[in-house]
């Protein structure tokens, strides 16, 4: 299966762009209405629970984006179809922003909940490492002047990072049981009420729409960059 991007596809993406932007804004407004006004405050955490509606989707998409990134890098090495490289490069920066957002909102949520800005548990630590992996992928690509080479090298790095993430998660779990037995206050996850599930669901869709919109914009950007490199060479 060899998909080749032609001008028709780009025109299609271009024409879909305004609708996508509109849909993203619309769903975000609905999501905001539900998460800030409509949903009740949590009976343990109070109104600080509302941070969850942006924190959880961004954490999900941070991980999902990295999986797509690493997956398309693997597929690129197998099939040699340059489309996968373009996908990887267009999605990486969105993933980095989501990772950063989940770290920031997470620590703002952590202050009222745990009383501290940061807890060294496996989930947060591996998220932090994920952020560094995104930085490494993006900046290594920029640092190498031969761009064809840069794509291959940074793709190899993305795959190695994907292997590293579960190792980190496992080792931090081990380390926590080793150093501070059971003293760690993890996120208590009580069964979520349906009234909280609705805003979370809407916000997830909104974040997904944002991911798609910006990825498609970056997709066009990366294609033009590639074309410009071609004409310069």
């Amino acid at each position: 299966m060899y998909i080749k991007i032609n001008n028709n596809h780009i025109e299609l993406i271009k024409s879909a762009n305004p609708y996508l932007i509109f849909a993203t804004i619309f769903v975000f407004i609905i999501g905001l209405y539900y998460s800030l006004f409509q949903s009740p405050p949590d009976y343990i955490q109070g109104d600080s629970m509302r941070i969850m509606y942006i924190h959880v989707p961004s954490a999900w998409f941070a991980l999902m984006t990295y999986s797509i990134l690493a997956g398309s890098c693997v597929l690129w090495f197998i099939t040699r179809n340059p489309l996968f490289n373009v996908v990887a490069r267009s999605i990486a920066q969105v993933g980095m922003v989501f990772t950063l957002m989940s770290l920031i909102t997470g620590s703002i949520w952590g202050k009222p909940t745990w009383g501290v800005w940061w807890v060294w548990d496996a989930r947060l630590t591996s998220m932090l490492i994920l952020f560094f992996l995104y930085i490494a992928y993006i900046f290594l690509w920029q640092a190498i002047s031969n761009k064809e080479l840069a794509s291959k090298i940074s793709a190899a790095l993305a795959i190695i990072g994907f292997i590293n993430i579960p190792i980190i998660k496992f080792s931090v779990d081990w380390w926590n049981t080793l150093h501070q037995p059971a003293s760690i206050s993890k996120l208590s996850t009580p069964s979520i009420d349906i009234s909280m599930l609705i805003p979370l669901f809407i916000m997830t869709i909104a974040c997904f729409l944002f991911l798609v919109t910006v990825s498609l914009i970056r997709f066009r950007l990366v294609l033009i960059e590639n074309k410009m490199l071609r004409t310069i060479n």
């Binding site: 031969n146 761009k147 064809e148 490199l229 071609r230 060479n233």
Partner: protein, 199 residues
């Protein structure tokens, strides 16, 4: 008797094609001069011939055996690239010692350098030499004598007239001993060699 054959060679660097359907046959005792403007793929051709670039269309074969499959091929050529392979912070003597180990062959460097009028430099740091002197020392690697091919990338750059002539003489002597030389150049050489190719 060696015969190096390049058939229908095309190569892409990035998205631009640098070599397009090149056909060359070169036999023992001959010298090939590759000419062309900057960026036309002269260095790429030499790197294909020295097995660094392996993704290309067409076939390069030595005595009808593809160079990619010939396990002994890498020990048959001596490549002198544009970089001079010298450590700036070490003296020439130490640099030559390091080369001896990599090439697995110990030469009488004092004598060879005297022949090329370079013996007064032997204890100087490479960093203090001029570009021409560095190039001369870099070409000193041609004295390792197990090789059947010389691949020289822009060997005449920075060289003065006397050194140019002595290099040409060396190439001639190597040709008489049935060696094959492939060199790239984008200037006109004072002497005609056997074959010339424009790419």
């Amino acid at each position: 008797m060696n015969e190096l054959k390049i058939e229908d060679l095309s190569c892409k660097r990035g998205e631009s094609k640098v070599l397009n359907n090149i056909n060359i046959i070169i036999k023992s005792g001959e010298t090939l001069v590759v000419k062309g403007r900057n960026g036309s793929g002269k260095t790429t051709l030499l790197r294909i011939l020295s097995n660094f670039i392996t993704s290309y269309q067409g076939k390069v074969s030595l005595n009808d055996l593809s160079i990619l499959e010939d396990n002994l091929y890498n020990n048959k050529f001596n490549l002198i690239g544009q970089k001079n392979s010298l450590k700036d912070n070490l003296s020439i003597k130490k640099n030559l010692e390091l080369w001896d180990i990599i090439f697995n062959e110990s030469l009488d460097h004092a004598k060879l350098l005297e022949r090329d009028n370079l013996d007064h430099l032997i204890n100087r740091d490479v960093g203090s030499l001029s570009d021409g002197q560095k190039k001369c020392i870099s070409l000193h690697r041609l004295n390792y004598n197990k090789y059947e091919f010389w691949f020289l990338d822009e060997p005449f750059v920075y060289l003065d007239e006397a050194n140019t002539n002595s290099l040409i003489e060396k190439i001639n002597r190597f040709n008489e001993n049935m060696g094959i030389v492939i060199l790239t150049s984008n200037i006109n050489l004072p002497k005609k060699f056997h074959k010339e190719v424009n790419i």
